[in-house]
């Protein structure tokens, strides 16, 4: 199932076992400007990936990531080490991203929204990029039909691979509630997928320009 696949997927959430607060966090709390830089460099990839998955393909990813770190800097003195720093950091990331999404929803939409076009690797072709973004848009079109809480839990668990216990700390809800939300989120996602006549064709159309297509899609073509 998706959850088991998520646990084995590369580049996913990595739970750090050490409870100790990183040394650069302690230095940053004491007002060491250099430590803020270390904090940013050590966590920017995790935060960016988490924000990108919560946001979907949007043009404002950079703004959100920047806002997350601004918020982290400002709130760092209030970090009490009652939870792991990464948990606290991800909670801030989730909160800032959700606030951004809520604010974006309340704004009037003028024209088409831009999507995030990340800098392509040198060995990546424009067609490859376009196809990948097209498929991500198709996925997020389905995810956007979920209620915010269910969508958040689904993305954190099935895309980001965060354990339910960690999610419960991030969203400040009991573990049982997290599992319930996940259960219903999956149910709704599967139902939306099963009812979407364009889904298979989106995956199929993009396949021709994407050599690294997931095995499941390749199997479909086969």
């Amino acid at each position: 199932m998706l959850s088991s696949a998520a646990a084995a997927a590369p580049g996913l959430y990595v739970s750090r076992d050490d409870d100790a607060v990183p040394e650069y966090v302690l230095r940053a709390q004491r007002g060491d400007a250099r430590a803020f830089q270390d904090l940013f460099r050590n966590h920017r990839r995790d935060v960016t990936r988490l924000c990108a998955r919560l946001l979907g393909p949007r043009a404002d990813l950079e703004d959100v990531v920047q806002e997350v770190f601004l918020q982290v800097y400002r709130s760092l003195p209030s970090f009490r080490a009652e939870a792991r720093f990464t948990t606290w950091l991800h909670r801030v990331s989730v909160n800032v991203t959700l606030m951004h999404l809520r604010a974006a929803r309340s704004r009037p939409k003028l024209g088409h929204e831009l999507t995030h076009e990340p800098p392509a690797p040198e060995d990546d072709s424009p067609q490859h990029n376009a196809a990948r973004n097209e498929r991500l848009r198709a996925l997020y079109k389905i995810l956007d039909t979920l209620a915010e809480k269910k969508r958040t839990v689904f993305i954190l668990h099935d895309l980001e691979g965060v354990p339910a216990a960690q999610i419960s700390k991030m969203v400040e809800a009991p573990v049982l509630t997290v599992r319930t939300r996940l259960f219903y989120a999956r149910k709704e996602v599967y139902a939306a997928m099963a009812a979407d006549p364009t889904l298979a064709s989106v995956a199929r159309d993009a396949l021709g320009s994407d050599d690294s297509a997931p095995a499941a899609v390749a199997h479909e073509e086969g």
Binding site: M1, L2, A5, A9, P10, G11, L12, Q29, R30, G31, D32, A33, F36, Q37, F40, R45, T48, R49, A52, R53, L61, E62, D63, Q66, E67, F69, L70, Y73, R74, L76, P77, S78, V92, N95, V96, M99, R132, A138, L139, I142, L159, G161, R186, K187, V189, Y190, A191, M193, A194, A195, P197, L199, A200, V202, A203, A213, P214, A216, V217, E220
Partner: protein, 493 residues
Amino acid sequence: MNTHPDHEDILASLDADGDAATRAHVEGCAECSTVADRLRAGRGLIDLARAHEPTLDWSRMEARLEAEAEKVAAEIRAGAVRPPSRLRSAVAAGVMVSMAAAAVLYVGRGRRAPRAPARGRSGQHPRSGADPGASRAARVEARVLLAAGGATVSTADSSTARLSAVSTLVEGVTLAAGDHGRAVVSLRPGWSLDVRPGATANLRRLREDETVVALSGGEARVEPASSVGEDPGVRVRSGRWTVHRPARPVRDEVSTLRVVVLMSRATFEAEGAEPMHVTGPVIFDLPATGAPRAVQGGGQRPRGHRLSALNALGDLAVLPPVSLNATVSFTDGGARALAALEAVQVMGPTTIQAREGGRLSRLEIGTGRVLRWTPVGATVAAAAPRPRVTAPTPAAPDPVQTEEEQRLRAWTGSAVRRIATCFTRCRETSRCPDASGFIRARGEPQPRARDRGRDGPYLRQRSRVRRGSGPVDPATGRERGPHGPHPHPLAQR
């Protein structure tokens, strides 16, 4: 009857170790086969999203963040922001435990067997579930302190009217705040009921010796909620809510600090309502601990914080970003004005700092929810001799400031001067009955409440300042301030 397997079973059957029977059904059923194709494609998209590693222009972002990091680090080094200590955590935990115990005791009292009969009453003290008609005490009327956003009042005969300052609130009426409204009423001297947006509250009993409020939805707050005095009177029937939809008592917001920001002009944009332009003071809450409720960065270098606000008209709205250099004044939330207040500034989302005779002090919420000034950092250079109260130190003029901005800045400084003067000169019997200038409470002044809630400052009639530092008027025997009575500062505009 539907014999098709559900989506999860179909998806599981696609795996190598899936159920063979389900797989056979899917292969033989056109409908399930189509569903399986779509689910397989969807799973492929999820795998793609999972493997997708977004990248950004790190160097550009790092450059943007560098300045902010340096600023925060400087604030920490200067002592404006302190890392939490174990001791402070322990004290905070102790306060929380004490408050929880007080709340439990309070609820327990409300459910216990009757206490000693109240003075002047014969018979048994009514319990929470007693017959409403058992008490023969005289009925009283509640008074409207604030009605905003279309709050309504319904009488027992089902007639509904818009709530206003002249509405008659007798026993049995129901207050409905509406989706965007709010109603604050004085149930009896010293007790107020705050009906939040979306809430409905029924004033079930309004008697001299007992007041019962029943919440039938949304959130409401009775203050002082956790302070049970000699004659509590007000009973919140917490165990007997009539819940028509998910409802809960509003959480204890002890960590908020209400301040007034003097802004020249602000535009409020509430969802589903037309933008509203307000000129003059704006009230907003600062959380005392933790992150602000909402922060919206304005561009690359956010210059302020967006916080929930209650504007001068009493409407809930979203405050636009407030400049960190905005001048603030206090609505007497328990913190007395400093003796030689020179400047007050919002230094951050949780920090209010004042300068007094060359010394910096920070406003904190201490034990017992008492606001106090705590000296912070090193002593700054002594300011030039000033009168007892002066305006905040004006910021260096912006070279690109327009003429209108300069004029508004001058007006703001002038208003701050007048309000600051009021805070130090006024007495409870002075001519500043509503120093905050926002809510005019009618009726008798409320007694001092030991437990000041978040709305306490608004619901009192008069600004509360220190006694004993001014001359006494021989005619009245009351203090009249060192410079005699003076008109309300905002009236001088």
